[in-house]
């Protein structure tokens, strides 16, 4: 089951847990299941049908360009981190 690393400032939604294991074959499924187990997570992470513009998702150590569509493996680690602002690219 994929492991989701919960940002420190969102851990009050997971009772202080820094990692949570939830089912999901894509980031979208992982977030939906995460929200079911810990209501409010989806609202923090998603706007409409996309990851919020100020948030990036990294799966297995690699920042994804696919967002909600990114595939997640059985043993994957999922991180949510602030997106690069300031026109870094």
């Amino acid at each position: 089951m994929p492991t989701v690393h919960i940002p420190s400032l969102m851990q009050k939604l997971t009772d202080g847990r820094s990692t949570v294991q939830v089912e999901g074959a894509t980031v979208r499924q992982v977030i939906n299941n995460l929200d079911e187990a810990h209501p409010g997570m989806k609202e923090r992470l998603v706007a409409g049908h996309k990851i919020k513009p100020n948030i990036s998702v990294a799966v297995d150590g690699v920042v994804s360009a696919m967002g909600m569509l990114e595939k997640v493996g059985e043993d994957s680690e999922v991180f949510f981190l602030p997106a690069i602002g300031g026109g870094a690219a």
Binding site: P7, I55, V62, L81, P82, I84, G85, G87, A88, A89
Partner: protein
């Protein structure tokens, strides 16, 4: 002292190439050295009008009213625009470039508030620049002047004047209750940082301030736009990203992107500062009103006051280590100026601050803070230099206190493949250790440094390699040369490095690939030239396009020879049958046959190279010798060596050029450059005479050592090299100043006054 002997580059790449690694002449060289290259200011068109922008004289003021009637009636004036002429709606939509449409519009033309001195308030189009300038003085703006906040400390203080009444601090995806100048607070954790500090034998904590600095590109922003009678808008401009300009103009003006064509002119420097749009939408608005093309050329003062510098910052770093120098814990607090609108590079700074170290326990707090300065923008490794100045200084101090060699302590703690950063991503194969080893082995590091008031310093820094999207097409000409069309504006020799990757695949000379940077109607979507991504991602697209050509050339040979394509191979520019040695043609010979055997071959490549950190990124390190004048505090750089991992250097001369350019900019940031602000928010040094960038007369030759640890994700192992080189210089210089004077510098720039103050307070 000028050094002329170069240490051999450190090449760990084992693949042999014919074109890659050579140094052909740049395709755009002749036009540029003869002055024939067409820059934005060179562009002209029939009926061209000239635009000028009225800018706020106040750093923070409510705009009660704007009366443009007198200006509209002035001789030669054809149109005046303000924010009121912009469409409404969709303000909260965030474009692909990551900025909310409302902020884009309010930055292009101020709405209810002027948020920095130089903020555009209105614009005029007239028959001559003089008429336009005269008309600006006739626009009457009623301001209610407000107190400005100019640093993150001022902006975060209790009771500080608030820039945006509707801004609440976002933390963990949740908005705060009160208006605030802190747009966002985030935190990264790895391990248990308090436990790590408790286990440490030495803990050093220091606080650092860095000044706002500008990219200092020589060519000011310039754009011309024509809003045609058919509703289509054509923009000619100096930009790092024609597609991003297209999308921003679309968002600001509320028209579909398909109605906008952006032609990127040659660009006279950008370094991140020419990613956003400023005058492009304004030219389009003025053109819509007049029906004529309108051109705006910024002055140098407008560039300083009206475009985005990179942020000043307040950074605190605390590091704990055991007696052997193993880092046990590290905590960073980073507060960065976003300028007038949210979106500083603090997120990137937070991801780079400890990137060179495999510290087991880390915590990083980042704050994005609005202040009354221009909206900050990217500048070579945005956010990383501020962070490295702090972290590297503390690491050097720990090394000194423990009696450990400063390179050795970094090697002992170096990040490597598998090291996880506090923000989550795990490094693939990287060259941090190899860069440090090359520094340690370089003759400069062991060379005697004689004379009083002299010191040597070192530092290392990291920047990502951004992937993003790029497209290339290649068409085969009948003479055997190929035309390559790309969408990446060339700010650092990228035409050559992209063309060379295609040439390598096709087995032809680099000179036989003719690269062209096309407009947005003529090439597929391509992200900005930035994030050290062009040689990596557009080069990758060129590789794929060349592979497509290669496949089609083999198919064509298969038709001509009437044999199975599977029995044909193409290597080093020769197509041959693997079963019949008589069947053999050069690329050139087959190209000549194309017209009579089915027509021209065109190959295409379109890639999404991934997000931040694709390919692992690049590390750069510096060794620097300085001499400090004990009477004036002036720091003279005596010798400077830059070592950087390029993955695979496609064109070594341009890699060296990037390393030297980034180093010089880092030295300027470290020693001289700053937005010198008056208390009312006015920049006191908004000219290149007073904003002191280093020149060739100030510096020795910058020695370079290219390390090649191939990126695991790129077909040729390329890592972007445009940015990591600006990260280590300020910290390396601070280390050298310490070794010359005994003081640790905690403030940038380390100009003579700052050095003397530090010495006197010792």
């Amino acid at each position: 002292m000028t050094t002329t002997e170069y240490d051999p580059n450190v090449v760990l790449s084992t693949k042999e190439y014919d074109v890659i690694g050579t140094r052909p002449l740049r395709p755009d060289g002749a036009d540029k050295v003869t002055g024939r290259a067409q820059y934005g200011a060179d562009f002209t068109a029939t009926g061209l009008l000239h635009g000028k922008v009225l800018r706020s004289p106040h750093a923070h003021a409510r705009i009660r009213s704007i009366d443009t009637s007198k200006a509209e009636a002035a001789p030669g004036v054809l149109a005046v625009v303000t924010n009121a002429d912009l469409p409404k709606g969709g303000e909260d939509v965030v474009g692909g470039e990551g900025v909310a449409v409302g902020d884009l519009r309010r930055n292009v033309l101020a709405a209810d508030k002027a948020l920095y001195k130089g903020h555009a308030v209105a614009a005029v189009a007239a028959a001559s620049p003089h008429d336009a300038e005269e008309a600006l003085s006739l626009i009457e703006v009623d301001y209610e002047v407000l107190s400005p906040v100019l640093t993150v400390q001022e902006a975060m203080a209790d009771g500080a004047p608030i820039l945006h009444e509707d801004m609440r601090t976002m933390a963990g995806g949740e908005a705060g209750d009160e208006p605030s100048n802190v747009a966002e607070h985030f935190r990264h954790d790895l391990g248990d940082v308090e436990k790590g500090f408790a286990e440490s034998d030495i803990v050093i904590e220091r606080e650092f301030d860095t000044a706002t600095v500008h990219q200092g590109y020589i060519e000011p922003q310039v754009a011309t736009a024509l809003w045609n009678t058919d509703g289509r808008v054509h923009v000619w401009c100096s930009t790092q990203g024609s597609f991003w300009v297209r999308d921003e103009v679309s968002n600001v003006l509320g028209i579909p992107e398909s109605l906008i064509k952006v032609t990127p002119m040659e660009i006279g420097g950008g370094f991140g500062g020419k990613i956003p749009s400023y005058v492009e939408p304004v030219c389009a608005m003025l053109s819509q009103k007049t029906g004529q093309p309108v051109k705006i050329v910024m002055t140098r003062q407008e560039v300083f006051e009206g475009t985005g510098p990179t942020p000043g910052s307040n950074v605190r770093v605390k590091v704990g280590a055991d007696a052997q120098g193993n880092i046990k814990a590290a905590h960073a607090y980073l507060a960065y100026e976003a300028g007038a609108f949210k979106g500083s590079p603090v997120a990137a700074g937070s991801q780079c601050v400890f990137a060179a170290y495999a510290a087991p326990n880390q915590a990083i707090d980042g704050y994005d803070v609005v202040v009354n300065k221009p909206k900050t923008q990217a500048y070579r490794a945005p956010g990383a230099t501020n962070a490295a100045f702090a972290m590297e200084t503390v690491v050097s101090e720990i090394a000194e206190k423990l009696g450990i060699d400063p390179v050795d302590i970094r090697l002992k703690n170096a990040a490597r493949e598998g090291t996880r950063r506090a923000d989550g991503p795990t490094f693939p194969r990287i060259g941090c250790e190899e860069v440090l080893q090359a520094m340690r082995d370089h003759p400069h590091y062991s060379a005697p440094l004689e004379g009083p008031n002299r010191g040597r310093g070192i530092s290392i820094g990291y920047w990502f390699n951004v992937g993003f999207k790029s497209t290339c097409t290649i068409s085969v000409n009948h003479d055997g040369a190929v035309s390559l069309i790309e969408g990446s504006t060339d700010i650092g020799g990228s035409r050559a490095s992209v063309a060379m990757q295609a040439a390598e695949v096709l087995g032809i000379r680099a000179e036989d690939v003719r690269p062209t940077v096309a407009d947005t109607d003529s090439v597929g979507y391509t992200d900005v030239t930035g994030g050290s991504r062009v040689a990596y991602a557009t080069g990758w697209a060129a590789h794929d396009a060349a592979q497509d050509v290669k496949r089609q050339m083999i198919e064509r040979a298969s038709q001509i020879w009437d044999i199975d394509a599977a029995s044909i191979e193409m290597e080093k520019g020769v197509i041959r049958s693997t079963t019949d040695s008589e069947l053999r043609m050069t690329f050139k010979e087959l190209a000549a046959e194309l017209a009579s055997t089915g027509g021209t071959i065109i190959g295409s490549g379109s890639i999404d190279g991934g997000g931040m950190g694709a390919g692992g990124g690049s590390f750069a390190g510096n060794i620097v010798d300085v001499e400090v004048d004990p009477d004036t505090g002036k720091v003279t750089v005596l010798r400077f060596t830059c070592v950087q991992d390029a993955g695979k250097a496609i064109h070594p001369s341009y890699v060296e050029g990037q390393m030297q350019g980034g180093s010089v900019q880092g030295i300027g940031w470290g020693l001289n450059e700053e937005y010198f602000m008056r208390g009312n928010g006015e920049m006191a040094n908004s000219s290149l005479l007073d904003y002191r960038m280093p020149t060739s007369l100030d510096l020795p030759m910058i020695d370079t050592v290219i390390v090649e640890v191939p990126s695991p994700s790129h077909p040729f192992g390329v890592r972007g090299v445009g940015e990591a080189n600006i990260v280590p210089p300020p910290a390396a210089i601070a280390h050298a100043i310490h070794n010359a004077t005994g003081v640790w510098m905690e403030k940038l720039p380390m100009n003579p006054g700052a050095v003397m103050e530090a010495v006197w307070s010792k």
